[in-house]
Symmetry: C2
Subunit: 300 residues, 2 copies
């Protein structure tokens, strides 16, 4: 049985033009993902700049995603700094036809474990939609523990946990995933993020890949995912290692988002300068490097 | 000559009741600060929960602050995740009659130094109001360097830098402040935050104290400030050390905000549970501890 929260979930950008959502570009990205056959589309993830958009923009983006997904399930990020704002996003995502929700504990003031448990309790009590626990310390600066995963995963409505990258060593990765698996209910899937470690994570027992690169370049991400799902572990790793120059740019240029935005711009999938300010676009020199890597990998 | 950006700037809470700004409680806090004779009032600082409020709520709070400050200069926090949202807050703060602006580089995606310089450039280009650079890594998770202070402080319109707590050792604190002073223009003041180290910071050459506790208990904060300003360095330190049980609770209960909110609630200056969710209120046991400290210090 395949759950909604398995396989490749592709995270499209939400491209901006002149500080407004470029609806045509966003719809195009979503249609491209549906056509490629990804297992789900997560709109308004970190890659989709959810944290920067107004409630109205987010409601519109959620609707556009569902309208253009051609039946592919759409998951929608609902995180916000204030619980009441999260609940408003939950309502608009539900109205848009989301199949599930993604919730990160955004922080300004540091949050306690109890704060975060009560946030997930409030959300799961307010909706029948399944919820992905979104652990992304690189953006939220909130640190989960396995004990906290366990407390949250027992809430009714929790369907999956999106974990950060796993250890590079396959055995260490397996132990890492097994330790989480041991403390959460069986119906809750574990999804890896951190694209460079996705093959290792899938091979180590993660049921899903919540993928940045898959939102803009779905084919290579699907090839890695299908190899791992079909038990071709070494093939999945080889397909990921082939993309090493791309993973290297993620590290060198300060994270995946700016690189993937530049790729989308390079492929004319998004207008130039599509990220929300104050996030500056990459420099011309950096873009030339990215073009070179895309050419080298046959992805241009 | 006394600048607007010297002395005690008191940061009031923005109390909520049922997830809406409690305008009466906020106005009362502001009037209390004006009556106590603080040098300025900074509305919508981190203590004022700016990051959690909508643009409309922030515009209303800025107006209420100016209306109730009885001529005391009001500085207004304008930070937001997206530059266009910051600029909207700049406009509403100006319309409300703010005397200056406080700007922290809020982050979701980690920001580069260039991102932050361009943010301050956009804001200073958009307003004639003087701007305080707000360095608060505990909430923004953005790390300034002295070199970055220098780049930003040379922008026209930058008036002050709000630095985190200084080293506890007086000589180390003096060197710390002198190193910043050496790289910024003379007209830019340095203000210390981190209430527990304020006396040390003022004695070390900081011209201002941007104060959490001063927003709810202005008298003891003013006593420390005036002692330092009048050259009674040991007296300033003694007055701060007297409050050590309070500083201890800040550390023990996860930061100043939850403690100061509980104090305001205890003193009937704010309704119970006045912080925005998901920030949970302190427990009854913790409140009992706080009451005990207030009694012990004669602040109840």
């Amino acid at each position: 049985m395949t759950s909604l929260f398995t396989g490749l979930s592709a995270f499209p950008l939400t491209p901006l033009a002149d500080d407004a959502v470029d609806q045509r570009a966003f719809a195009g990205l979503v249609r491209r993902l549906a056509a490629a056959g990804v297992d789900s589309i997560t709109a308004l993830g970190s890659t989709g700049s959810y944290a920067y958009l107004t409630a109205e923009e987010r409601a519109r983006v959620a609707r556009l995603a569902v309208e253009n997904a051609d039946g592919t399930p759409v998951l929608v990020g609902v995180g916000a700094l204030r619980t009441s704002q999260v609940l408003a996003n939950v309502e608009s995502a539900g109205a848009a036809g989301a199949a599930g929700l993604l919730l990160a504990p955004m922080t300004y003031q540091p949050l306690t474990h109890d704060d975060v448990v009560e946030l997930f309790r409030a959300v799961t009590a307010a909706t029948d939609l399944p919820v992905i626990v979104y652990d992304n310390p690189g953006t939220t600066r909130f640190e989960f523990t396995n004990e906290l995963y366990a407390r949250i995963a027992e809430l009714p409505g929790i369907a999956s946990i999106k974990i950060p990258g796993v250890p590079a060593d396959p055995e260490a990765a397996r132990e890492h995933v097994a330790a989480i698996r041991a403390v959460i209910p069986e119906h809750v899937t574990i999804g890896v993020s951190g694209d460079a470690s996705a093959a290792t994570g899938l091979n180590a027992g993660c049921e899903a890949w919540y993928s940045v690169i898959g939102g803009t370049l779905p084919e290579p991400a699907l090839a890695i995912t299908r190899a791992a799902q079909e038990g071709r572990a070494a093939d999945a790793v080889a397909k990921s290692e082939r993309l090493a120059p791309l993973w290297g740019l993620f590290t060198e240029f300060g994270g995946s988002l700016r690189v993937v935005a530049a790729i989308a711009e390079q492929l004319s999938l998004a207008p130039r300068g599509c990220l929300p300010l104050p996030i500056q676009p990459l420099s011309d020199d950096q873009r030339t490097r990215i073009s070179g890597v895309l050419d080298e990998l046959g992805l241009a």
